[in-house]
């Protein structure tokens, strides 16, 4: 397949505060990429980064939306929400910093590793946020296939 191959586009709605459903989008995308024969390492990177994004949407933003575009060369993921926004992005990006409430921490989340993991496991990562309006994250994993 060449550069002009049309992307496979997927859309996921992530509900807020429903931690039993968080992970459905990443599990679905992982299964699709495996079925398409993408390299296991790349599939794992996509699954980890998208799961962190899903959890963040559920915990912090009251839910949101995920758009995915898959080509033989890369997987692009855009996560957007209309949550409270992030006041200090560099602080939020630092490992161990978290604003998650106690009930979320008791579930094993809130370790302050979400955004750092998303950046660590993607090849491209951009975050924009406006306090009171929401947050938009664009991230991509390159698949290393010609």
């Amino acid at each position: 397949m060449g550069e002009t191959t049309q992307a496979i586009r997927l859309h996921y709605d992530v509900p807020g505060d429903d931690f039993t459903r968080a992970g459905e989008a990443s599990a679905d995308l992982k299964a699709r990429l495996k079925a398409l024969g993408f390299p296991p390492d790349a599939v794992r990177k996509v699954a980890i980064s998208l799961y962190e994004g899903e959890i963040n949407l559920a915990i912090h933003a009251g839910g949101g939306e995920i758009e995915v575009a898959v080509t033989p060369q890369r997987v692009d993921m855009t996560l957007s929400d209309q949550g409270p926004g992030i006041e200090d992005i560099p602080l939020a990006m630092s490992e161990g910093y978290s604003t998650a409430p106690d009930e979320v921490r008791s579930l094993g989340f809130g370790a302050g590793m979400g955004l750092p993991n998303m950046k660590k496991y993607t090849d491209e990562f951009q975050i924009e946020s406006v306090v009171g309006e929401g947050t938009r994250i664009q991230m991509a994993v390159r698949l290393g296939r010609a």
Partner: protein
Amino acid sequence: MTAAELCERCGFTPAFPLPEPDKEIRGGFCGDLLSWAMGRAGEGCAWCTVMGSINAVAVASLADAALIVLCHDAVLMEDARARAAQQGINIALTPLPEFEAAAAVAGQLLPR
């Protein structure tokens, strides 16, 4: 070493018949913070934890853990059990604390 072999040698009890008994164990990981496990548990690991929730199953699935070792007789939630069976995630139970369970795993995996 396979997941089934590790369970047998360490005395871990499968929570239900292992759906992927032949999955290869490549290492171990200890920890209960899910994002920490998500970011650092290696592919094919035996993950020693006390988190028996549906979210732990999701992390194991997405991070390609080979086996969850639920330590300290921690409770495996019913929805987690069902999801694990459905997604082919191996889960074993042990009364051992995480330290001792991890030591048992290490005893099988690391050169003496």
